[in-house]
């Protein structure tokens, strides 16, 4: 019937300790909560409490003993006569702890090939739309389709959006579903995340992603990780959206590309579209996704007009890159505003007899490695163009992909064209010098083509 008292681990890392002092002696009656001994670890002296009731039987390790291994039996307690059988029989003691699983390599399950964009039926009318309108239409269509979808953020309702992306939504959907918040990013990002956990489909607008730094804890710790930590119970279908990257003459605190930050985080979907059709199709997919999505827009692109297919339900696959321009000599990989610059560079290069393929990643996580590698296998040369800092960037990641899985196809080192590695300056000339342009992309392409 005796209960064995074992040398306890008093911290996550403790393996052994000193039994400094016994505060009870053999024959003492103890109850739950009584302090039995003082144990010294490398960090502190801790009290060892009884959780059982009974009489101290034998003290097996005398006080003052150093280097007592965790798990050593240090004393016994004779249990109460009426102790329940299970309490008195710690037969299933630590011996039954499972042997650590042999580190058998487990392969990450292969992902199914990504779906391609749905074909646009012949005869579909193409209309001209700005990216701003395309985003608004995507949100409005999803709000009509699903009453759980609502939009929340600073100035999204009565002001019609700081960048007018939510224009007209308040009028159609009312203040219950289009909600102006106070200036309180951490708070409303948390409320949006909690509302998604509670079964709604929030679209949370950040006036710019620079301000989402105040809220990044909820995006990462609360939204991205909870499904995993809950063993798949806690869904968090929230969309965090807003303009990202450099705008124009707003200085360093309002001019950063957070694509690499969010793309680093397992559990998030990160989308950064370029044109209106992709903005609309991917925003609709983002709102429908069961996973948390960071949707990175670009202020300088909001007002640009593109062709947009007039379809009842234009939804694009998340995680699929798009070939924006076919070419055979070299691949330029980009996303967001960089795609426009890459296309411009490709035109310059075409005049010089270099036929560049331009790939728009569209989704930064999960990354369409396949599209990059397929194009590299065709052209054997690759340049990444990214409006953002070079260090630990999406460009770095693409270069790693090429090294890991495309090495045999490379005829030249992969080059990246990124912003200068400095906080973005205000002065017009310095700002211009800090940000990528078509000329720099073309120069890098000439270099990998040895021209």
């Amino acid at each position: 019937m005796a209960i064995e008292l074992k040398m306890p681990a008093l911290s996550p890392t403790m393996e052994e300790g000193t039994l400094a002092k016994w505060l009870v002696k053999e024959g003492d009656e103890v109850k739950s909560g009584d302090i039995l001994a003082e144990i010294e670890t490398d960090k502190a002296t801790m009290e060892f409490e009884s959780i059982d009731e009974g009489v101290i039987g034998a003290i097996l390790v005398p006080e003052g003993t150093e280097g007592v291994k965790v798990g050593t039996v240090i004393a016994t307690i004779a249990g109460e006569g009426d102790a329940s059988p299970a309490a008195a029989a710690p037969a299933v003691a630590p011996a039954s702890a499972p042997a650590p699983a042999t580190a058998a390599p487990v392969n990450r399950p292969a992902t199914a090939p990504r779906a391609s964009d749905p074909a646009i039926p012949a005869g579909t009318n193409m209309k001209t739309s700005t990216v701003r309108e395309a985003l608004r239409d995507a949100m409005a269509e999803e709000m009509r389709r699903d009453s759980r979808v609502f939009v929340m953020g600073e100035e999204v309702a009565e002001y019609q959006g700081a960048y007018k992306v939510t224009q007209g939504l308040l009028e159609e959907f009312g203040p219950k579903r289009v909600i102006d918040t106070p200036i309180t990013e951490y708070g409303f990002a948390g409320i949006g995340t909690g509302a998604a956990m509670g079964g709604l489909r929030p679209v949370i607008e950040f006036m710019t992603f620079n301000f989402a730094m105040q809220a990044i804890d909820h995006i990462i710790n609360s939204a991205a990780k909870t499904n995993y930590m809950s063993g798949g119970q806690m869904r968090c279908p929230v969309v965090f959206r807003g303009p990202n990257g450099a705008a124009s003459r707003v200085g360093a605190q309002h001019s950063q590309n957070y694509g690499p930050w969010y793309a680093n985080v397992p559990g998030l979907i990160v989308i950064a579209p370029y044109d209106a059709a992709d903005a609309k199709g991917l925003m609709k997919a983002a709102i429908r996704s069961e996973d948390p999505v960071v949707f990175l827009e670009n202020e300088l692109v909001y007002g640009r007009s593109f062709e947009l297919p007039e379809l009842d339900d234009h939804v694009l696959p998340i995680g699929k890159a798009r070939i924006m321009r076919q070419g055979g000599d070299v691949t330029i990989v980009s996303y967001s505003i960089g795609v426009g610059l890459a296309l411009e560079a490709a035109e310059i290069l075409a005049g010089e007899g270099i036929d560049a393929e331009v790939i728009d990643l569209r989704t930064l996580r999960p990354l369409d490695r396949e599209a990059v590698l397929t194009s590299l296998a065709k052209t054997n040369r690759l340049v990444v163009a990214e409006e953002g800092w070079p260090t630990c960037s999406i460009a770095s990641e693409i270069m790693a992909v090429c090294m890991e899985d495309g090495f045999d196809h490379l005829d030249a080192p992969v080059l990246r064209v990124c912003d200068e590695d400095v906080p973005l300056p205000y002065a017009a000339n310095l700002e211009k010098a800090a940000i990528i342009d078509a000329g720099r992309i073309a120069a890098a392409v000439r270099k990998v083509c040895y021209r």
Binding site: L10, A87, G194, A195, G198, M229, G231, E290
Partner: protein
């Protein structure tokens, strides 16, 4: 003469604020401080508190044996708070969210001790499949939304749950627990502001156990009366003895009636005490052994409930039976947690995302 206008102004301000229920909930609570529980109700509360106590003691023991790793924050001493408050909730529609000291709230909500203990030991049968651990446990079926490891994060998240209750008009109330330490996080006040602004159905519960890790309340807080901290947002406060399960229950009913009537959030401060350290690796040098002993011996919520039951004439045998049953339940949970296998290695890659892309 000079004083007159200012007095008038003060009077006018008071009239303007007639609708502000700053103190009326506290007054209602003081007028009727203890829940008139039947013997059976009190026995049930006693049983739930003993379950939490014995479960946590067992968890402490398994930690000492190396079967539980990492951080493990025990609820011993605070049992009356979760049991008293949650007994007043409607399990069908109300939601609960808390921080990392979450075992007690789960047990009070009727979640199976076996799957909680198996999560603590990191087994595949754990409530989070062994991927969350002590601080990250959830049960969507029970409307228990965690189990959050970042101090204070559960307050805006809980406000979001309350937002969802209001949006879907399901009649539910969210109860969001946090500690005296979390009360100093800025996001708590961002959430207070929006909860009050939008009249959300939420009860903010500060479990004031006196210490934020090792920092005594008076060393970390300029305003140590946490129930007053909603005043700036027009949130009424309640100051409640968290060591008496019947007082806690009575206060919960006052708060719930206010929130369910559509009058917006309530802030409750529950004065309580944790007997054990902040986490298992806490040497507890910031308070005296005498202070802890004083609380255990004179203010223990379980001893008090037991004494009251005996005084009411409930037989000692009946109480002993409960104690015995709970020991068996906890031992069974520990056996299950020790003997069930670790997660399959393939679990490493599951649940990162819900969908495939």
């Amino acid at each position: 003469m000079a004083k007159q206008p200012s007095t008038k102004k003060a009077a006018a301000a008071a009239t303007e604020d007639e609708t502000f229920a700053l103190r009326s909930l506290q007054e209602a609570h003081m007028a009727n401080p203890r829940h008139g529980a039947s013997d059976e109700d009190l026995l049930k509360f006693y049983e739930q508190m003993v379950l939490i106590r014995r479960f946590e003691e067992k968890a402490g023991q398994l930690y000492g044996l190396g079967l539980i790793g990492g951080f493990c924050h025990l609820y011993i001493g605070q049992e009356a708070v979760a049991v008293g408050l949650q007994s007043a909730l409607d399990a069908e529609r109300d939601s609960v969210i808390t921080g990392y000291r979450d075992h007690g709230h789960m047990l009070a909500y009727g979640i199976d001790p076996k799957v909680i203990m198996a999560e603590l030991t990191g087994r595949g049968a754990g409530i989070s499949r062994g991927k969350g651990g002590s601080m990250h446990m959830f049960s969507v079926d029970h409307k228990f939304y965690g189990g959050h490891g970042i101090v204070g994060a559960q307050v805006p998240l809980g406000t979001g749950l309350a937002f969802a209750h209001k949006y879907t008009e399901d009649g539910g109330v969210c109860m969001a627990y946090f500690g005296d330490g979390a009360s100093n996080q800025g996001q708590v006040y961002e959430a207070f502001n929006m909860a009050a602004l939008w009249n959300l159905p939420i009860i903010f519960v500060v479990e004031n156990n006196g210490y934020a890790m090792g920092t005594a309340v008076k060393r970390g807080s300029a305003e140590t009366h946490f129930y007053r901290r909603g005043t700036a947002f027009r949130i009424p406060g309640m100051d409640v003895n968290g060591m008496d399960v019947l007082e806690v229950r009575a206060a919960a009913e006052v708060a719930l009636a206010h929130v369910r009537a559509g009058k917006g959030p309530v802030l409750m401060e529950l004065k309580t005490y944790r007997y054990r350290g902040h986490s298992m690796s806490d040497p507890a040098k910031y308070r005296s052994r005498e202070e802890v002993q004083e609380m255990r011996e004179k203010h223990d919520p379980i001893d008090a409930a037991k004494a009251e039951l005996l005084k009411r004439g409930v037989s000692e045998d009946r109480i002993k039976d409960i104690d015995k049953q709970i020991r068996a339940v906890v031992n069974e949970a520990a056996d299950f947690a020790e003997s069930s296998p670790e997660p399959e290695m393939s679990e490493l890659y599951t649940d990162v995302l819900v969908e495939s892309y």
